[in-house]
Symmetry: C2
Subunit: 364 residues, 2 copies
């Protein structure tokens, strides 16, 4: 495995690139993809970069039946000098292996996969957009392919990476969203798969998303699945509140995804000497803080939107407006700093950025 | 939609059929498959019976990322006179639509899909085995195909039916299994997807299955995800206990799958005037009943094994042997009756059997 080489087949017909001011999130894919296979006898093997194309899958492949799958999401950015760089990519492949463990999927070689990703981006580097707020979204994923109808871990898997040039998540930069607590449905529970990035968590969440959308909210704020009292996270973001000068975020408790952006926010606040605490946060506590005029800011954190200020919170038939529905000071400062580092416009004091060197030669 | 016709393309190269005494569950598939597509503009369309073959799927298809999928499992049986019949197929397509609703998947036309299934089996009827204990396992399933990276219900789906000749689930007919409570991991919780037949539930359960297997148990007995006190179900079976002359089974509470076999067992017991109750059952209550010598029988119910007697139950480091580890009287009577009806060897007093008529002409 250590010395696995990557076979490269380049696309002959290059696709037309979308205009960078018209990029929709997750709809356009680049010219190439990375793929490798797993079998019990060979481990991970058959690593290839191929023209982006449909794959051939047996209808009995276990992914269609028993949902054994894991995915990741990270981004590459174009710097002012035209270089391409990744933001904390190792964190994503580490998390992928944690998710794999929960889903009984064999681990990937994190170094090898990062090397494969760099090679893939190098080949498709013209696809990394350079307009303000745009980037290349990277989707590594793994799924069960053994053609077998029986509830057991698969003996065969496919790991892939696909790339999608994406625009800014919000039309006008950093725009506050309205979120709502939905307590009929549950996303995850301790002992379940909440802390793994696996398809089932997202499939399970769709119905609540539909419910809150109809009431005019953008995203669901999930409470714990047991007592339905404690705040967990928001759809595809972790969540932070500034209460009476202190920034708080739910502690990782086994049912919350350990966001890379969440970790970056915490590190940055500590670096700035801003008080930040990871602990259990009751929804009632939050409402009380609002009542007392102490809920100063709220924001979500995630790869797609980076920082997403929360302007209003719906719960139990009431709506709580936060910071007059406007982006707060600390939210703005974190957003500006993280994006500044990502695009190579600011110093990188915490060593988050990983350049894509052009050293590796593509063997064709 | 009502008048949708099914296009048929017959396979030219017929596969070799496995010997019916060597059938493994879920590994061999017949010569044909049914497939249809869904789009927002056309609804379900493009219904086809095709030679069994791999399908072509975009790597960005949502099934690989967000797990939006539902499946079913039922069986066709060969009667002594050589006919082929289905067991309560409408229940499965009804349940599929309930699962679809939870997973925000558009409903299927239950009548049309049943008609398609009958046509498919007619074409592959030589694949229905006739040895004792064998049958044709039927797997209808639906999954999200839209190539889009974003957490939202897909706008495109594929519905398929594949068929697999299967042997008796246990080597020697009705063989007691050992099951164990595993309380680190949770399969489902009220408000989650436990009552839907969706991949994520099964993916989530694999790790606990691994844990109990290492301790010599066949299956996991799941407790409720909130208090971890009340019995839910067993891996891919519902569960029944005979306590002091009364048969009890956990009440459908929102996190348990409403098994077709479970319903058949309840109906049959009522038909026989055997006391049967659906209610909440505590694991401690069960242990106490065992202590008092009142836990007379335990068995699982599901399409694959029909009835599976439980000979021993592991919980909290103790092992509780039930009925001396042997198949109980009521378990045996239910098994014999349901299989007798399925194979057309016994009267069908509750109208469960649906023959596959040969009237529909195959248009080629
Ligand atoms: C459920 C969930 N929570 C939180 C996050 C944020 O994680 P990250 O900052 O690593 O993107 C995501 C997105 O990845 C997510 O899907
Ligand atoms: C989780 C679960 N419970 C129970 C059952 C039993 O249901 P049925 O009797 O419809 O096969 C199954 C199998 O379908 C299952 O997957």
């Amino acid at each position: 495995m250590e010395e696995q080489s990557i076979q490269v087949e380049l696309s002959t017909a290059k696709k037309e690139k979308p205009q960078t001011d018209q990029l929709e999130f997750g709809r356009t894919f680049t010219d190439h993809m990375f793929v490798m296979d797993y079998s019990v006898t060979d481990g991970w093997h058959n690593a290839k970069i191929l023209p982006y194309q449909p794959i051939s899958v047996d209808p009995a492949a276990m992914i269609f039946h028993y949902g054994q799958s894991v995915f990741e999401g990270l981004k590459a950015f174009r710097t002012p000098s035209g270089e391409v760089q990744l933001f904390r990519p190792r964190k994503n492949f580490e998390r992928m292996n944690k998710s794999n463990e929960r889903l009984v999927i064999p681990p990937i070689d994190e170094d090898f996969v990062l090397q494969a990703l760099k090679k893939l981006i190098e080949i498709d580097q013209d696809w990394v957009p350079d307009t303000e707020g745009t980037s290349l979204y990277i989707r590594p994923f793994v799924f069960a392919t053994e053609p077998f109808l029986g509830v057991a871990p698969s003996h065969q898997y496919k790991f892939m990476i696909i790339l999608s040039p994406v625009g800014s998540y919000y039309k006008e930069g950093i725009n506050p969203v309205k979120i709502a607590v939905e307590d009929t449905y549950v996303r995850a529970v301790k002992g379940g798969t909440g802390e793994a990035k696996t398809g089932g968590n997202y499939a399970s969440s769709l119905i609540a998303q539909e419910v809150v959308s109809k009431k005019g909210y953008t995203q669901v704020l999930w409470l714990d699945g047991v007592e339905k009292k404690y705040i967990e996270e928001v759809g595809s973001m972790n969540v932070f509140f500034k209460i009476d000068g202190e920034v708080v975020t739910p502690k990782l408790n086994g049912s919350i995804l350990a966001g890379v952006t969440r970790d970056s926010v915490i590190q940055l606040l500590k670096h700035w000497d801003v008080p930040v605490v990871e602990r259990r946060i009751g929804m009632q506590e939050l409402a009380d803080a609002h009542e007392a005029g102490l809920l100063e800011e709220a924001f979500g954190s995630g790869t797609a939107a980076v920082i997403s200020p929360i302007g209003a919170l719906g719960w139990n038939g009431k709506e709580y407006t936060i910071n007059g529905g406007k982006t707060g000071e600390i939210s703005k400062r974190i957003y500006d700093t993280i994006t500044g580092i990502q695009y190579g416009k600011l110093e990188d004091p915490l060593n988050w950025v990983e350049p894509i060197t052009s050293k590796a030669k593509v063997n064709q």
